[in-house]
């Protein structure tokens, strides 16, 4: 637990530094103060993609190795990824309301596919919660974890494949469309959010380990009942 606390402290410090960079960068000429959301929105979505990629990796490794640690990794990563997806969706809606004039566009493939990704991983969590047996849970979740990741590239490349309200990637091989100060803030926040992701993962995996350690005691019905001993019967 000490390791998790140290990491969490480090993560909060890093996020604090990242937010300071985002809040002190000069505002954009067109987007005004809302451009500061670039410090949160892209890093959140980057973390969501990373988290779901890690889930797929953990799922594949569980199917190959069948060891609990990979299942714990996959499960923890989904929970953190869903939180970051929710943050990304929310900050995107706030930014969209200010810049596009609407928080949501039902015809926009990026917005819709991101929302769908969010629901798929909520389904993953619901599936895990519905199964008591740890091995059955791990196996079924691993199968879904491998299938669900197929949509992640679809979400990422949706801005290139379809005509969308959402802009295409701002950072390309030929340069960036973002001012240098805001770009720096975005990268600092990406690093900070990644440290936060690692800290949350370590904490969640520790909790999962504790749950696994406690599980056998509560799983065996009637374990508290002591079988009668022959010598005691003879004494009576």
């Amino acid at each position: 637990m000490t390791r998790a606390r140290v990491l969490m402290g480090l993560a909060f410090a890093a996020v604090g530094v990242g937010l300071w960079f985002a809040l002190t960068a000069p505002p954009d000429a067109l987007q005004g103060e809302y451009s500061r959301l670039l410090g949160i929105h892209p890093p959140s979505m980057w973390l969501a993609f990373l988290a779901f990629g890690v889930t797929a990796f953990g799922s594949i490794m569980w199917l190959v190795k069948k060891t609990d640690r990979w299942d714990r990794l996959a499960a923890a990563s989904v929970e953190v990824g869903v939180i970051f997806t929710a943050i990304g969706l929310f900050t995107g809606m706030v930014w969209g309301q200010a810049v596009w004039g609407t928080p949501w566009d039902w015809q926009d493939p990026r917005l819709m596919s991101t929302a769908v990704m969010f629901f798929v991983y909520l389904g993953y969590i619901a599936l895990r919660n519905a199964i008591d047996d740890p091995t059955v849970r791990a196996r079924r979740a691993a199968i879904l974890g491998v299938i669900a990741v197929v949509q992640v590239p679809l979400v990422y490349f949706s801005v290139n494949l379809f005509r969308t309200l959402h802009q295409t990637q701002s950072i390309r091989p030929d340069g960036s469309t973002i001012p240098d100060e805001m770009l720096l803030a975005m990268f600092v926040n990406m690093a900070a959010f990644t440290i936060l992701y690692i800290a949350l993962m370590v904490a969640r995996i520790d909790v999962a380990k504790s749950e696994s350690a406690l599980a056998p005691e509560s799983a065996l019905a009637g374990e508290a009942v002591r079988p009668p001993r022959l010598d005691e019967v003879e004494d009576v």
Binding site: L63, F119, V136, R140
Partner: protein
Amino acid sequence: MTFWPQALEIARVDLTVERRVGSTLRITLPFGIVALMVFPLALGLRLSIVSEVGVGVFWALGILFGMQIALRQSATDTPERRDLQALLGVDPAARFTGRVLSGATLMTGFLITLLLTMALLFDPDLPGGAWPVLAAAAVLVAVGLAELGTLAGEVTTGLSNRAPLASLIVAPLALPLIIGGSQSVGAVERDTGILPWILLLIASDLALAVAGVALARPLEEATR
């Protein structure tokens, strides 16, 4: 018995059981048609709107009722039946393929019937060339839904809240199928070329088929 005879035999047995049980023909199909009839009433019988939303309603109902077909009781194996198939040496990939074949056959029949009913009730204002595209897209969507439904059905086998849970998994993952189906018809209307959307449907079907075959063994063991 090699792969394809095994898959075809499983599909044949599935369809025979379904013919006897009749859940698709006697329950899901009439329910789908009733749902189609509810929409014009809910829209206040404004014929211009009804004609405009017809194709969209078809896709929405097709996905929702398609899940019921994919998760039908007759497509659920008991643990004993799974064990028997394993002991008989049935290839898990052939089992998955057989399930998809029977599901896709039922789903195609369902979607085509729903499409004809929609055309009759909603009288959608579509160019003549859109109808064959709509039918072809319906077949590709049926295959994809059958694959997704088979995967989700296996993953949720034996759970008390199986139907809503599997639907929660299938509905969002069916997004490429909904986009491909609806946009292919839209492309005919806009005269912008249907190939990318048909390719999206084919790619989705292939990706799901590869995933299903690759994960067939863990799927077979999913309840143990």
